[in-house]
Amino acid sequence: MKAICFNFEIHQPFRLKRYRFFDIGKDHYYYDDFLNDDIMERIARNSYIPAAETLLRMIESNEGRFRCSIAMSGIAFEQFEQYAPEFIDVLKRLADTGCVEFVAQPYAYSLASLNDPEEFAAQMGDTRSLLRNRFGVETKVARNTELIYCDDLAPQLVELGFNGVLTEGAKHILGWKSPNYVYTAASAPSLKMLLRNGKLSDDIAFRFTDTSWPEFPLTADKYIDWIASTPAEEQIVNIFLNMETFGDMQPATSGIFAFLEALPRFAAERGIEFVTPSEAIARLKPVGELSVMHPISGADEARDISAWLGNRLQNEAFEKLYSVAERVRQSQNRALKQDWLRLQTCDHFFYMSTKRKADGIAHSMFSPYETPFAAFTNYMNVLADFLMRVQEEYPEQVGNEELNSLLLTIANQGQEIEALNKELMAMRKNAEQYNIEHRLREANAEKTPKATKTAKTPKATKAPKEKAAKTETPAAEPKKRGRKPKAAKAE
């Protein structure tokens, strides 16, 4: 039985405000709240909320037969909390249905996987915590930023506890193979790969309202027919889309919501199911392995990482940012760590691309900047201020390792001091106890004076020195006597 696996991506960056070089060192708030508020509110109203509600209706009316998955960045989540909290409620309802799998992707929707494994692991962990704490869901399926994937990533994902990954069905990797199968990662065979079907996904995402497209208008039954007409051995069709396709990129007036809602009915007629990624992985056998030496992605014609790291500007910004990764991780400053995540979002680099033609149009369509040079200048100014703040906390002169050992020493010393303090407190208590008990003994000793005198004389004749010592310290004597019986008691 064929199955469709949907994945809806939800992401919006914290766009930067206009930040001039003379703001460096003075202004530590980098974000354009007005713009972000405006955009978030608009997209939530036109796209995210209606789309999510459509999915809810599809789940309810099909009695759980409709299943899909969602990938959300932590950055977007933070913005929803600020600007569109009602959407979070809808997401919670989706999570509660049990028919929607929330896959894990880097919290900051960043390119950390390309440069800093520790940062990548931390961000995947942050997302999992977010999903667990706010939605009560867990997952074993991962999805990297814009479906970026390469062989080096697979072992890392397995180590982090994932058994599946979503990525792009890039032609230059697949060659003659079809994306409509489950594959395993060549570098980590326990990791299963689900590949996006680019043609069918883009039919909805880009061509749905393109009147020059021969297949326009696209109806739900035609679409399901195409899927049903794929060869019988092809068991899975992965449709990965940005959720803003529904309502924002393709407006509601195009009928996109009706299209989506009609799919389960026609799929049922043709015997096509819907599955979550985990179900696909569990159910289907992989037909082979795929090796990806150089990173692939879902972006641009080239389907590689040139969309973010294709020119000099992007590379310099990227290097500068990650040069302080370790120091930021060691920092306890919450504001610094928050900015660190927000500055990593891949969109900032996307806006700096100088590509032309079709790719260029796609880049400039989403960019709040007029030119890629303006994007670079703005980002670098912000980064300069950020680096200055990191520098203030941990000066550059101190190397990372030296810093580490110093911090370790400080921590150790801290522990030692604590332990010593405890000992001191204990000893003080002991001393106090002794004093109290001595006074009690003293009081007892005064009640029986004769016994003490006879005890005294034989001692005096035997040891004249001792006598002298005793007369010297008459105050000590009664104490000593007091102690002897005590010592005897102790013995």
């Binding site: 001039r20 070089f21 003379f22 460096i24 020119n311 000099r312 500007l313 590379n315 310099e316 910004a317 100088t354 007029e370 030119t371 040079f373 303006a374 670079f376 200048t377 670098m380 100014n381």
Partner: protein, 420 residues
């Protein structure tokens, strides 16, 4: 196809962009093949490049009969005009201009520059144009800039051949909305008599349509280009000794070029950066005012005024620069940023200039946006990636902006006008 072009400046004796553009365009058209071009200028010096066009100087065109023999003519003007041509022109004098001030060869003296009696010179120019038009054989007339429009009109009236008028700049633009009525009149006259109008940018085209009342279908934009640098200029070594960055403005120091915005932006940059110097090269009516302004802002120690740069000096100045800036208030086209890009200097231009329409690897700001300008300057001098990106992509881009493309567009317009 035979074309008769009227111009005012020609390299190497140029005063502004008009000469550079005239040369480049004519050469570009010749490169497209099958073009026989005659270029008329007021005062040739003899050292002009005549490989692609026949150059005729109006200072050598007789308007009054003089009985002179071949040897005399050869001795007097042999280097500038062949005696055969002189005699042929003399045969076509159409009226007695002896009442005008003419020399021993019956020619009127021209300065070749922009003197106080400019309108008189323009009129004289059109008289000589009448003689030329009656003598030579050509298919089409092409007039560069308003100074030669009367000549073009006269030539058209004499021969009936079509006239194409090339608007390099408009009086409306130059005067910021308060044009000199005489000059405006000459410009409009030329445009209405022309069979087609070529403008150097869409900005200029819009001005012609909106403020001169011309039918849009009669106006076409052909963007200027730039002549590739010869190896000698590219090999100029960097004359600079210091590690400080240099930001350069190179052009006429006049209101239209927005020099005061440059000074203000420089002051802003110098408040936060110290290892940078600013250069305003060129001369003009606002030069003294700018020197005062720099002093007022307290940056006179880092702001330099080297004066007018001639020929090779321009390229040496560019080679020593890290940033080139052109904050023009209104620029019909602006070839100088292209020259800067050829020398590998990242450029900042105003959005109100014609070249902004075709360039992508430059930083564009509004001419009044001092903050953006200062930010852009800071970015280029502080972030090496920005410098390298603009430099390299700029070099590649400007290498594609060649005169033969513009030349071909002009030839297509000729064909359209001639009905071919």
């Amino acid at each position: 196809m035979k074309a008769l072009m009227f111009g005012w400046e020609f390299p190497p004796h140029i005063l502004g962009g008009l000469g550079t553009a005239s040369y480049g365009l004519t050469r570009g058209m010749w490169e497209c093949g099958d073009m026989d071009i005659t270029f008329v200028i007021p005062k040739p010096y003899g050292d002009e490049d005549r490989s692609f066009a026949r150059i005729i100087g109006t200072s050598q065109v007789p308007v009054a009969w003089r009985q002179v023999d071949r040897e005399y003519v050869d001795a007097r003007i042999g280097k500038l005009m062949s005696p055969e041509l002189y005699f042929a022109l003399r045969d076509h004098i159409y009226a007695d201009f002896n009442y005008m001030r003419t020399n021993d060869l019956g020619c009127i003296e021209f300065s070749g520059r922009y003197p106080d009696n400019l309108l008189e010179e323009i009129n004289n120019y059109s008289i000589t144009a009448g003689v030329i038009a009656r003598t030579l054989d050509f298919d089409i007339i092409h007039s560069h800039d308003w100074l030669t429009y009367p000549a073009g009109i006269h030539a058209k009236q004499v021969t009936g051949k079509p006239l194409v008028v090339h608007v390099h700049a408009t009086e409306y633009d130059r005067s910021r909305g308060k044009p000199n009525p005489t000059v405006y009149g000459i410009e409009r006259d030329g445009m209405t008599h022309a069979d087609h109008i070529i403008t150097v940018s869409n900005l200029t085209r819009q001005t012609v349509i909106d403020h001169y009342g011309i039918d849009p279908s009669k106006v076409t934009t052909v963007h200027n280009a730039v002549v590739p640098l010869d190896a000698e200029l590219l090999a100029i070594p960097n004359p600079r000794q210091t590690k400080e960055k240099v930001v350069t403005f190179l052009g006429r120091i006049t209101m239209q070029k927005g020099p005061e915005y440059f000074v203000e932006a420089a002051a802003k940059v110098l408040r936060n950066c110290s290892n940078v110097r600013f250069v305003m090269a060129g001369s003009g009516d606002m030069m003294d005012k700018m020197i005062m302004l720099a002093a007022e802002r307290g940056i006179a120690d880092r702001f330099h005024f080297p004066g007018f740069q001639k020929g090779k000096q321009v390229y040496e100045m560019l080679k020593a620069s890290d940033v080139y800036i052109m904050p023009s208030v209104s620029e019909p086209f602006g070839i100088s940023p292209l020259e800067a890009m050829q020398m590998g200097v990242p450029s900042i231009i105003s959005k109100q200039s014609g070249c902004a329409e075709i360039l992508t690897n430059v930083i564009k700001t509004d001419y009044w946006d001092i903050d953006a300008m200062a930010d852009a300057i800071h970015s280029i001098i502080s972030y090496p990636a920005m410098y390298k990106q603009l430099r390299e992509d700029g070099l590649a881009e400007v290498a594609r902006i060649t005169w033969d493309k513009a030349g071909q567009k002009v030839i297509d317009i000729y064909n359209k006008v001639l009905g071919r």
